[in-house]
Amino acid sequence: MRDNAPATTLHIVYLARLREAFGTTEERLALTGAAPTTVADVVTLLRQRGGAYATELGAGRAVRAAVNHTMVAPDAVVRPGDELALFPPVTGG
């Protein structure tokens, strides 16, 4: 955690094309419910907002995820206090 936000929220970071499309670098999402929440669950939730979220996170768009700075698969579980980053496939070098 980078600040004093209570550990009931997920810190989501958007990078590159996603950051531009959503017009924000980060947000905090409340995690509710007893069942484990996965990266795929969060992406589905975001997609339901429609607009750029539906477009950029829609079928056929490649999105990668990292939890606490480690690349993960869509079935990885996220917990309150985690930092989830969503981004397109990397293009360095």
Partner: protein
């Protein structure tokens, strides 16, 4: 092992001299320098802007270097990757490997670049006469990394 992400340019000669540091075991120094081209996918590129994910990018580069050191008999590795706005001919990335022999130094250098391309969190955006566009990842880069 040294990994740096920076906006500033780098002096290849100075960096190599620092990495070698008078190590008398070294018999081979392999290096790769990636530079900005003025054309990509048939469009003229005037500016290439590189974005990274502070914290994770450095960690990912360190993991890639650690992997190289476990796979190849090499002595030391330097990786410098620039971020921010760059122009054609500018240097983007430097990888230097020191070892006893050329085969392992060459191999480790190629391995590092192939892995860096597919595993290090950097994203490129280019300015062209048709406007700005994000550079898509290439399948050929995945295939290059899969060789190892």
């Amino acid at each position: 092992m040294t990994v740096r992400v920076q906006t500033a340019d780098f002096d290849v000669g100075r960096e190599i001299a620092l990495l070698r540091g008078g190590d008398k075991r070294v018999g081979a120094v392999a290096s790769f320098i990636g530079t900005v081209r003025d054309v990509n996918d048939d469009a003229t590129v005037s500016t290439l802007t590189l974005e990274h994910y502070p914290g994770m990018t450095e960690k990912a580069l360190e993991a890639i270097v650690a992997e190289a050191k476990s796979r190849f008999e090499i002595y030391d590795v330097l990786v410098i990757h620039r971020v921010g706005a760059l122009a054609p001919t500018d240097q983007i990335v430097l990888v230097v490997v020191t070892g006893a022999h050329r085969e392992t130094a060459f191999d480790a250098c190629r391995f590092l670049m192939d892995y860096l391309k597919t595993r290090a969190p950097f994203w490129k955006k280019e300015e062209t006469p048709q406007g700005a566009r994000w550079v898509d990842a290439r399948a050929s880069d995945d295939e290059a990394a899969a060789r190892w």
